[in-house]
Amino acid sequence: MDFSFTEEQNMLVDTAERFVSKEYGFETRNRIIASETGMSETVWQGLADLGLLALLVPEEDGGLNAGPVETMLVMSALGKGLLVEPYLASAVMSTRAIATLASPDQRGEWLERMLGGELIVAFAHDELGTRHEPLAIETRATRIGAGYLLDGRKSVIRHASQAGMLLVSALVEDGVALFALDRDTPGVRLAGYPSVDGARAADVFLEQVYLPESRRLGQGDASDALLAVLDTGLAALCGEALGVLQRSLDTTIEYARTRKQFGVPIGKFQALQHRMADMLIHVEQARSMTYLAAVRALDGDAARRATALSAAKVVVGEACRFVGQQAVQIHGGMGVTDELDISHCFKRLFAIEKTFGSTLDHLDHYRRTLAA
């Protein structure tokens, strides 16, 4: 049993935190989310330069081959900065999917450009009904000649409009497959919009999109690999949540220490004191489960892994809701304005709670395993 981090891991945290605090201040972020593309090329290149985009890339492809613990640590640091760039989608989930499934040729073609910051890849898996059942895919890839025709709709795909390539999950004859799709392939239409948390997303409509065999990742049914990627994403998301939670708590404590009402700092009011104690408890319980999620993210037993990750998402999700709402409440009127960063934390926590299944979805999943 060991909750300490290696020197390398601590350096990684340091690197990521320093980058965020230097390059990703509140004003900078506001400019980025208001910009045309909704992300910063400079920031993305900065992440590439620090090697952070290579985190999950295998060594033989020039990467760091790091694991879920490192991913969690980096995500947490980026979460503290409320980073809206496509790190989770491209550097975590898509990288993991390619590293797991893709052929050497494909890896060569994509990973180097990804870790260098040239190629952003969105992970286009979710559909209208996916939130509750990860394999409820309706998009179909029909074999035609030496390739496939894809039809379907992917919904609320983060960063789709910022990505050069999309990894699309689809039903094939022998199960589920992942396809790599250039965004400008004929038949692909994006309906884009901002996400509540400042990032960009889109629904992706696929109509008779032709892809050659070389654009399919791996052979046979990729369900297991897909689930593993989704769980990697969920564990990483918990890491991000932890960063946002910590920032929300710290900001609230600082506000309560300094903001005066009726002549005393509001942190002197016992009702608020106890609420902040409860916020801390939520954060610490979320931290514990985020650690668990990281450790279990590579568990080969998919059912056991899913149960542990559902448990983590429940605790993290409850924390997102409680800490987010109370942070705003304790900030009073200032808490609901766009001017302070606390409302931006609130919105990211709200979005995280709804991503990859809500607290209620995961509680429901977990409770169904009890009688088994």
Binding site: D126, G129, T130, R131, H132, E133, S155, V156, A191, Y193, P194, S195, V196, D197, A201, D203, F205, R259, K260, Q261, F262, I266, F269, A271, L272, Q325, V328, Q329, G332, G333, G335, V336, T337, D338, E339, S343, H344, F346, K347, F350, A351, K354, T355, S358, L360, D361, L363, D364
Partner: protein
């Protein structure tokens, strides 16, 4: 004991409903029922319609041109309006400054200011809160110094709701800096077109422009715009705070939103079952529906006690606390019901005439901004913490 309204009250409700069917502008109704943001003209259109019917002042006594309705009738009216999708009545003129003018203003003030409020031709906003004061309303720093026939006002007000539309602002100002905090305050009516007034928007986290900062720099206000006596403004403000209990819980609004939640939950599914039949989700809907049922009766009890002129207890605070929590919960459950569709957030797609290619079901477009917007409910109007302080002081007397 009888939980039903009298036959007369029921007939009255039918009359209101019938009026709503015929005269609530359909675009406005559409916006309210679907949670779309309202604009100035929406509020005004509704006020004009009411005024045309003689219902411009539902809470006003007849002598000032109001309806002269009882508290019960006002409640029935409010509830019917909310359920039917009418906008709320903007309270700053109708319910706030008008109440003070009627109670403490002089004849001239009453004749000058009340009719345009009723007719919806002058828009009022509230100048109470100041930066950094929060719930501590008595810590007014804006100063008014007498200079001949005028007061010269300097200071800053904040959280001024819909101040960008306002023709007038009623302000608490400090006229005696040496008196105790609650003593040296006066109640002034100020023309928003006065030189020296600047309105700056405060954008809230949902992207709305609902509240403002109002800067007052050497603003000259004629002394005839002072309400009542100098330095007694706190009394009038407090009178107002204790006055409005009829619609504080927002029962009608909550019922409308509950119906909307159930419509959404009937459309969305989990494991192939409508969410309204999903055990865990439907249990949450049941909880809030039951809470609301209880609060409605609690509200009727308060009305009934008011009708019998019983001394008010902590009821207003109960109504505020539970009412705000229920409304927030309803929106939270709507965002839960639409799942990942709670994330897309395009303000343009939240307008009534939107024709773009936003790929969401119409019902999924607005819950999120409303959820964000309604965080204010537990903060303003005396935060829920302040309300709990009030209750505990009443019951403990410590």
């Amino acid at each position: 004991m009888d939980l039903n309204f009298t036959t007369e009250d029921q007939a009255f409700r039918e009359e209101v409903r019938s009026f709503l069917r015929d005269h609530l502008p359909s675009e406005v109704r559409h916006k309210v029922l679907n949670g779309l943001p309202l604009e100035r003209d929406d509020y005004l259109a509704w006020q004009h319609a009411l005024h045309a019917r003689g219902w411009g002042g539902p809470s006003w006594p007849a002598e000032f041109g109001g309806t002269g309705w009882t508290a019960v009738e006002q409640y029935i009216f409010d509830e019917a309006c909310a359920e039917a999708g009418a906008p709320r009545l903007v309270p700053f003129g109708l319910k706030m400054v008008a109440t003070v003018i009627m109670a403490f203003g002089n004849k001239t003030q009453q004749e000058r200011f009340l009719p345009p409020i009723l007719a919806g031709t002058e828009w009022w906003c509230q100048g109470y809160s100041e930066p950094g004061a929060g719930s501590d309303l008595a810590s007014v720093k804006t100063r008014a110094v007498r200079d001949g026939d005028h007061y010269v006002v300097n200071g800053q007000k904040t959280w001024t709701t819909l101040g960008q539309y306002a023709d007038w602002i009623f302000c608490l100002v400090r006229t005696d800096a040496d008196a105790k905090p609650q003593r040296g305050i006066s109640f002034l009516l100020i023309d928003m077109k006065s030189p020296g007034i600047t309105v700056r928007p405060i954008i809230t986290m949902d992207g709305s422009h609902e509240v403002n900062e109002v800067w007052l720099e050497d603003v000259r206000v004629p002394v005839e715009n002072l309400i009542g006596e100098e330095n007694r403004g706190w009394t009038y403000a407090k009178f107002l705070l204790g006055h409005e209990r009829t619609n504080i819980a927002g029962i009608g609004t909550a019922k409308r939103e509950l119906a909307r939640l159930k419509r959404i939950a009937a459309s969305e599914t989990r494991h192939g079952l409508p969410l309204l039949e999903d055990p865990l989700f439907s249990a949450e809907v049941a909880r809030v529906e039951i809470e609301l049922m209880a609060l409605e009766i609690t509200n009727l009890r308060v009305l009934s006690a008011e009708a019998e002129n019983k001394a008010p207890g902590p009821e207003a605070s109960i109504l505020k606390i539970k009412g705000s929590e229920i409304q927030q919960r309803l929106l939270e459950l709507m965002t839960e019901a639409i799942g990942p569709h709670a994330l897309p957030f395009d303000r343009d797609a939240m307008t009534a005439g939107y024709q773009g290619d936003y790929p969401l079901d119409a019902y999924a477009r607005t819950p999120t901004w409303q959820y964000l917007n309604l965080r204010k409910l537990t903060i303003y109007g005396g935060s829920n913490e302040i309300q709990r302080n009030i209750i505990s002081q009443m019951i403990l007397g410590l």
